[in-house]
Amino acid sequence: MPGKLKVKIVAGRHLPVMDRASDLTDAFVEVKFGNTTFKTDVYLKSLNPQWNSEWFKFEVDDEDLQDEPLQITVLDHDTYSANDAIGKVYIDIDPLLYSEAATVISGWFPIYDTIHGIRGEINVVVKVDLFNDLNRFRQSSCGVKFFCTTSIPKCYRAVIIHGFVEELVVNEDPEYQWIDRIRTPRASNEARQRLISLMSGELQRKIGLKVLEMRGNAVVGYLQCFDLEGESGLVVRAIGTACTLDKLSSPAAFLPACNSPSKEMKEIPFNEDPNPNTHSSGPSTPLKNQTYSFSPSKSYSRQSSSSDTDLSLTPKTGMGSGSAGKEGGPFKALLRQQTQSALEQREFPFFTLTAFPPGFLVHVGGVVSARSVKLLDRIHNPDEPETRDAWWAEIRQEIKSHAKALGCHAVVGYSESTSICEEVCILSASGTAAVLNPRFLQDGTVEGCLEQRLEENLPTRCGFCHIPYDELNMPFPAHLTYCYNCRKQKVPDVLFTTIDLPTDATVIGKGCLIQARLCRLKKKAQAEANATAISNLLPFMEYEVHTQLMNKLKLKGMNALFGLRIQITVGENMLMGLASATGVYLAALPTPGGIQIAGKTPNDGSYEQHISHMQKKINDTIAKNKELYEISPPEISEEIIGSPIPEPRQRSRLLRSQSESSDEVTELDLSHGKKDAFVLEIDDTDAMEDVHSLLTDVPPPSGFYSCNTEIMPGINNWTSEIQMFTSVRVIRLSSLNLTNQALNKNFNDLCENLLKSLYFKLRSMIPCCLCHVNFTVSLPEDELIQVTVTAVAITFDKNQALQTTKTHVEKSLQRASTDNEELLQFPLELCSDSLSSHPLPPAKEHLESASSNSGIPAAQRAVTVEKASPVGDGNFRNRSAPPCANSTVGVVKMTPLSFIPGAKITKYLGIINMFFIRETTSLREEGGVSGFLHAFIAEVFAMVRAHVAALGGNAVVSYIMKQCVFMENPNKNQAQCLINVSGDAVVFVRESDLEVVSTQQPTANCQSSCTEGEVTT
C-alpha cells in the first residue's frame, strides 16, 4: 500500500445554468479514483459554489497511481430525476510521483464536457503521500521521469544514454463495442477518453519498468501515439530513449565517480541492500585513470556481472524491447559481440533524440526509413499486442539493417508513425543512421568523455558530415569529395537527416523550410488488392518525394536537409506524401550544382527556346535564393580540394524500403541512374508541370523565415516574444476527372496558401521566424484533405541578426538562451576544480559525501548555486503569478521547442499528455465546422494551460499536437473531433530576473539530490 492520494474540492465558478426556472445550479462533485468514489455536499443555488470540502483520501497502490487518472465529475443535483452531469476533469497525477517535479496540483481546471465543451471551472487541490516501496518485484515504476523533449532537458546532464524503449498496449475501442448502440454519445466519448487515459498510464508505467531494468531514471524524447484501428481495436504505443540523468545543480552530479556514489548515497537512507552495485569500486580509482580505462566492452561485462544483485539485467529486457525480445536472437548476438561497441549489443540501437550532448554524434550516414502495409482485419488475436509488436519489430529490424548498410551502428532522430484507412494500415519508421561516441552509452563518466572530446573532436566540427561507410565498399553509388572544412575526410555532396542541426556545425547563411508535396490517385479496392495497390505505389511516391526535395534543395542553393519528416497518408482513393525539412548550406559539404533542363525532342526550335527560357528562370531563382538566404561560400579552387572522386553521381542518402503484407521487401535505388549531371528531363507535360511547380513555391515575405527544426541557423538573437499556434484546413475536391496532376496542384496550393495565411496573420511579429513548423496531412474522407500545422513564431532582433556567426564560440552563443553551453562548461569546470584545488582522493570525498549528503565542499557549492540554481517551490509560485494586478489568470506559454527564448528553464514538472473528444449535434449553431473546431482547439489549449498552471508551471515546452482527427456530417448537423497533445510542463525564469533567484540556499540542492535516490536504483 504505497501511496495515499488526497483530494480537496475547493470551489467552482462560472458554472452553467442547469435549472432554467431559477437560472441557477445546485452543484456537487464526485471524486473518483480507481473504484473509490467520494462526494461533496450539494451547494444549493449558485453558479459559483464554495464546497471547501474535507480532504478525500484514497489509499492506493502505486501501480494504480500511475495508471489511473483522477476523475472529477461536477453534477447538478436534482431531487426528482437523475442528476445531470455538468462536466468532468481528468487529472493525471503522475507528476506528483517523482519527487523533483511538482509537489502539489492546485488550481482552477476547466470543467469539460464532450458535448458542450468547457462549462465553468473548478478549483481542486491534489497531493500524494508516497511510501517507499521495498518490494523489488514491483509492477510500478514511480519515479522515472518522462520528457517529450527530444534533447537532454536543459537543467539535466546525461550520465548515460541507455537507448531505445518501446511499448504498445491494445484494447477494444469503446466506440466499436456493442454497448455503443445503446449508450449516449457522451457516455461513449467519456468511455473512450477514460480508456485512453488509462492505457497511457499503463504504457508509461511499463516503459518506466523497462527503464528501471536498464538502470536508467528517465525517458527522453518520449513519443506516445494512438492508432484508431476501428473494429480491430485501439492501440496506444510509445517510444523513447532511456537515460540516466543528473540534475545539473545537484552536488552528486559533480562527484568524480562514474556510476555509483550518488546511488549509494541515496540508497542508504532507504535501507536497501547496502551494496547493490558490486562494481562500485569505481570511486576509489583516481578519476583520470578511470576515465581512460573505460573501454566499452569492459564496462559492459561489469554491468552484467553486477546483475545478480540488482534487478535482473538479462540482455532481453535490459537491452531492447520486451515485445520483440522474445526471439532470443539478441542474446546470442550479445555474447558474440562483447568486444564490439556497446551499441551493437542492443537489439535496436535507436535514439529518439534529435539533439545531443556535444561529442555524442560522431558521423551521420543519412536517412533510413522503412514502411510496411498491413491489413488490420487479418490480426489473429486483435485484443493482444503480439501481432502489432511483431509488425513493428520487423520494421525496426529493417531500419537497423539499413543503418548497418550505411556503415552505422545506430539510428538517431528515430520516429514511428502510422496511417490508417479502413482496414489498411501503413506503418512507417524513419531515422538517421549515425555513428555515436560509445562512452555516453554505458556506465562511464561523462566528465571523461567531455575531456576527451575536447582533445579529439574539437578541431573537427565537420566530423559529423564525414562518411561513416567505407569508401571502396559503398552501399550505393555516391559522389564524394574531401571535406571542405578539414580537407582530410570524405564527405557526400548532399546530406539528409532527421535530426536537428548540431550546434557546432558550421553553416553558411540562413536555412529555410523545404517541402515536397505529392498526391497519387489509387483505385478503390478491398483488402488484399488494396494493400497490394498501395504497396506498389509507395516506392514511386518515395522516389518522387525524394526527387522533389532534391530539386528544391538545389534550387535554394543548399546542400543539406535537417529535421526531415516524410509522411505518407493513405485514403480511400489516394495516397498523399508530404515531406518537410529545413535546408541549410553546410560549409563542410561541396557547393551544390545547378539544375539543368533537357528536352526530349531537340529538333523543335520553339521547344528549344522554351527550354532555354525555363533554364534561365531556374538559374535566376537559384541566384535569387542564394542572395535571400545569404549563401556566399568562400571560393575554393578545385586544386586544393582535389578532383572529385570519379564515382557515378548520386543524389541519394536515403536508403529506404517498403514491404507489403506478404512481407516481400523491395529495395529501391533512388539514385537517378548514372547520369552525369543533375538533369531534369522534360519529356511530357507531367515533367513540365513538375518544373513549374518547382518555381511556384513563393519565398516567405521579407522579414519572415521558416524552418521545421528547433532553431534557425543564422539567427541568434531571439527576443522573448513567442506565439505558438495551430492552424487547420480542410479542402474538398470535386472529384470530376481527378488527375494526379490536378490533385498535386490542389495539394500544393493548399499548403502554400496555408503558409501565406500564416505569414499574413503573424505580420505584426516581423522580423520573425516560424520554428518547428509541423505539417500533418490526413484524408478523413473520399474527397477531403486535411492539413494541420503547429508551429511557433519567434521574433528576433534584426540588427544583430544580420551578423552571421562563423566561429564555434559564437555558435554556442547562438544558443545562449537555451543555456546549452552550461551542459558543457559547468561540469568541466568543477571537475578540474576538484582535481586541482582539492587534492583529496575521490574515495575520501565520497565518504564525506555519504555522511554529509553533499559531495561538494561549501566553496564549490557556492559556485553551483551561482551558475545554475534550482528554485524552491515558493519562489516558483511567486514567479508564475500573473504580472498584472487585475487579472487572476497567469500566463502560460506554449511552444513546440525545447526552450524558451530569453528565459531559463529551472524545473521540469512532468509530462502533459492529454486526450480529448468533442462532439456536437448542433454543428450549424456552433458556427459550422470552423466554429466547432476553432472553439475546441482553443479549449484544448486552455486545458493544457490550466494543468500546467496547477502544477505550478508557467510554460509547456516540446508541445506537440499528435493527433487531430476530425469527422463531420453536416447533413445530420454533427461533427466529432479527437485531439491528443503532449509536452513538458516547466517553470522558467526570465534571464533578466535570474539575479533575484540566485539567492537560493544550497540546502535545497542536497535535498533534491537525495530524493533523487529512489529514481536511480
Binding site: 506565439q723 480542410v730 476527372n737 489568470v889 465546422v929
Partner: protein, 395 residues
C-alpha cells in the same frame, strides 16, 4: 460514428447560420485552379496560444460589417499592397477574427468573465482594449436613444435609427444592448453609479461616466429628442447628468440607498415648490432683481436686455423647479430650460461670459433676500442648474 454523406454549403461561411444580416456568400476563389477540379475550403482556422486580436478587424466587426464588406474595406485600405497578401488570405484572416470575436462576445457581456476565463489567453492591455471598444458607442446613436426607455419597443425603432444615422443595424443593436445590459445590472444596486458600472464592466473612468449618464437619462426618461434640443451633444447631457447625480439624487444625501444615484430625490423635488415664493412674492422678485442689477451694472454687455428680461427669466427658472413634482415635467426639464432660459438669452445675443455673470449673481443674491428661508434648497437646485445652463448655452 458519423457516416459520409453529401454536404450542404454551410461551411463556406459558418457565421451565416447565426448572423442575421450576413448574406449567404460564395466561397472566394483560393488561388488559381486547374480546369476541371475545383477545391472548396471546408474548414479553415487559426488558433494561437495567445489570442490574436487585429484592432482594425475588431473595429469593422464592431461596426457591424459582414465578412464580405469587411474584406472589401480592408482591400480598399491597401493592405494587400502593403503585405503582398492575396484576397483569399484576407478573407480567411477576416473570418478567423470574426469567429474569435463572436466567441469573445459572450464574455464581453460580463467583462469580469473575460478576465477570469481560461479559454482565451489575452494580455491585460488587450483585454482592456476589447472591453473599452466593445462598450464604446457612436455619438449619433446615443443621441437617438438618450432618455428613451430601453425596452423592446425602442428596439424596433433601431431599424429607423440605423437608416437615419447610417450606422449598421448590427452595431445599433450592440450599442443598444450594451446600454440595456449596463442598466439592468446596476439598476438596483447600492453605492455610486459610476463605481458600480466600473466594477461590473471594467470600463475606463470616462466611459463609465458616460454610461452613468445614459443609465440616469434612461431611468428618468428625460426628453432629448425634441427639435429644439438637437443642437445639444451627448457631452452636454452627460455633463448635466453628472451634476444632477451629484446633487439631486438620493445618493447626494444618503449613500446607503438602493438606486441612490439613479432616482431623483423625491423629497427634494417636492420641496422645490417652496421656491415659488421667489417669483410669486412681488416684493421678493423686485428685490432680487434690484440686487442683481446693482451688482451687474456696467459689467454686463447686455445689461439692458437682462434688466428687461429678468422677471421672465427668473419666473422661468423658478417655475421649472416648482413643476418637477410631476414626472411629465421632469422629463421635459431640458426642453423647459432651453425654452425658458437658453432661447431668450440667445435671441438677445448674450455672450457666454454675460450668462455666467448673470447666473452667478442671480444665485448669490438670493442669500441676501431676508424674507427667503430656503437658502439650502435654493443652493442645491441652483448650484446644479447653474452648471447645466452654462453647458447648455451654446449654438
Amino acid at each position: 460514428m458519423l457516416g459520409p454523406g453529401a454536404r450542404s454549403g454551410i461551411s463556406a461561411l459558418p457565421e451565416v447560420a447565426w448572423r442575421r444580416h450576413a448574406r449567404p456568400q460564395q466561397c472566394p476563389a483560393r488561388g488559381a485552379r486547374a480546369p476541371g477540379v475545383a477545391m472548396t475550403s471546408e474548414l479553415d482556422i487559426f488558433v494561437g496560444n495567445t489570442t490574436l486580436i487585429d484592432e482594425d478587424v475588431y473595429r469593422l466587426w464592431l461596426d457591424g460589417y459582414s465578412v464580405t464588406d469587411a474584406v472589401a474595406l480592408r482591400v480598399r485600405s491597401g493592405i494587400l499592397e502593403q503585405t503582398g497578401a492575396t484576397a483569399a488570405v484576407l478573407q480567411s484572416d477576416t473570418m478567423d477574427h470574426y469567429r474569435t470575436f463572436h466567441m469573445l462576445e459572450r464574455l464581453l457581456h460580463a467583462p469580469p468573465k473575460l478576465l477570469h476565463q481560461l479559454i482565451f489567453q489575452i494580455p491585460p492591455s488587450r483585454q482592456a482594449l476589447l472591453i473599452e471598444r466593445y462598450y464604446a458607442f457612436d455619438e449619433a446613436f446615443v443621441r437617438e436613444v438618450l432618455g428613451k426607455k430601453l425596452s423592446k419597443g425602442t428596439k424596433k425603432d433601431l431599424d429607423d435609427i440605423s437608416t437615419k444615422t447610417g450606422i449598421t443595424l448590427k452595431s445599433c443593436r450592440r450599442q443598444f444592448d450594451n446600454f440595456k445590459r449596463v442598466f439592468k445590472v446596476v439598476e438596483e444596486m447600492r453605492g455610486s453609479l459610476v463605481d458600480n458600472i466600473q466594477q461590473h464592466f471594467l470600463l475606463s473612468d470616462r466611459l463609465a461616466r458616460d454610461y452613468a449618464a445614459i443609465v440616469f437619462f434612461a431611468n428618468n426618461r428625460f426628453e432629448t429628442g425634441k427639435k429644439k434640443l438637437q443642437y445639444l451633444s451627448f457631452g452636454d447631457f452627460a455633463f448635466c447628468a453628472e451634476l444632477m447625480i451629484q446633487n439631486w439624487t438620493l445618493g447626494a444625501v444618503d449613500s446607503q440607498m438602493d438606486d441612490m444615484d439613479m432616482d431623483l430625490d423625491k423629497e427634494f423635488l417636492q420641496d422645490l415648490k417652496e421656491l415659488k415664493v421667489l417669483v410669486a412674492d412681488k416684493d421678493l422678485l423686485d428685490l432680487h432683481k434690484s440686487l442683481v442689477c446693482t451688482a451687474l451694472r456696467g459689467k454686463l454687455g447686455v445689461f439692458s436686455e437682462m434688466e428687461a428680461n429678468f422677471k421672465n427669466l427668473s419666473r422661468g427658472l423658478v417655475n421649472v423647479a416648482a413643476k418637477l413634482t410631476h414626472n411629465k415635467d421632469v422629463r421635459d426639464l431640458f426642453v423647459d430650460l432651453v425654452e425658458k432660459f437658453v432661447e431668450p438669452c440667445r435671441s438677445d445675443h448674450w455672450p457666454l461670459s454675460d450668462v455666467r455673470f448673470f447666473l452667478n449673481q442671480y444665485s448669490a443674491s438670493v442669500h441676501s433676500l431676508d424674507g427667503f428661508r430656503h437658502q439650502t434648497l435654493w443652493d442645491r437646485y441652483m448650484g446644479t442648474l447653474h452648471g447645466c445652463l452654462l453647458r447648455l448655452y451654446h449654438d
